[in-house]
Subunit: 184 residues, 2 copies
């Protein structure tokens, strides 16, 4: 059986899922080969820097997705629609809480110290993009920043609690509540 064409970009979503579910330390090369169907040799061909380069590629991939689907709309589109779109995108991306935030999970342990800029950048841009939309929607700067911080933090917390309690409806319920707080 000959392996068909398989590009680096095809591997990244599978790598992302591995790191998301197992964590950086927990995602061993064995588990990664099993999930991607690629041998270690192929993985090192695509990512000469090994596991760390794989994680960097995954972080970049996640960041790009959020820029395209969340941050840029918040920064450029009509604020009401962009914010509504954010809640939709977030619920879909995190599969109603069944999927964890890779970057949030990396932030919690010493993995953060491997990728500090990538982790920081993601959250800072999310908060500032949302704050910007809230300002364009009429909030003053201080309130907008606080509300944005509150919303982003709430999403991360909802992911933790959804997994911890195994309550499948918690996430979507939390998003609705967070969306309501933004209206205050």
């Amino acid at each position: 059986m000959v392996k068909t064409v398989f590009e680096k970009s095809d591997a990244i979503p599978l790598l992302a899922e591995a790191f998301r579910e197992l964590g950086y330390e927990g995602a061993t090369l064995s588990s990664i080969t099993a999930r991607t169907g690629l041998s270690k040799g192929s993985l090192y061909h695509f990512f000469p820097g090994g596991k760390e380069e794989m994680a960097e590629a995954v972080l970049d991939h996640v960041d790009c997705w959020f820029i395209a689907h969340v941050f840029q709309p918040l920064e450029e589109e009509e604020p009401g629609a962009a914010i509504a779109g954010m809640w939709q995108a977030v619920d879909a991306y995190f599969r109603a809480g069944q999927r964890v935030c890779l970057i949030g999970a990396f932030a919690l342990d010493e993995t953060r110290d491997r990728f500090p800029q990538a982790i920081n950048r993601y959250f800072v841009r999310w908060i500032s993009a949302l704050a910007g939309a809230l300002i364009r929607a009429g909030k003053d700067e201080k309130t907008a920043t606080q509300l944005a911080e509150h919303a982003v933090l709430g999403i991360q917390g909802a992911l933790v609690l959804t997994r911890a309690t195994a309550d499948g409806k918690l996430f979507t319920r939390a998003l609705e509540r967070l969306a309501a707080v933004l209206e205050i």
Copy 2:
């Protein structure tokens, strides 16, 4: 040099800090021996079940702390004072966000599946204790449960964001905002 008396209970806070900072997979026996000053032999003497038993002991220790300092006060004392005490205890326990929630961190990766009951129990009790206090303070049951969920999830999210952004003031600021939401 003779090792002085060192009880199992003395090791647990050090183990807790190791798991908290490094994660379950990241906390290797080498790092644990370095942090506790106990050799592998001694560790296995105290915890014959190895790393898993160490983590169980730590989870139990954390749970007991929260029962004594947070859950029971919420369940038994005057609600206003108990809730105010909760915010104080949380800010102190998590060192204004410099310290991560071990149980929340465990919830995010496959470590959850090792200790599902302990993780679930902690968060369920926290939410129900807080909801109970809110009910005694005059909220209706549905509102109280939602607000309690919102508060606990906010704490977890604030821990993620504090570490991610390295903004030392974020955590305390978030707690103030979360406390304000409970008043609504």
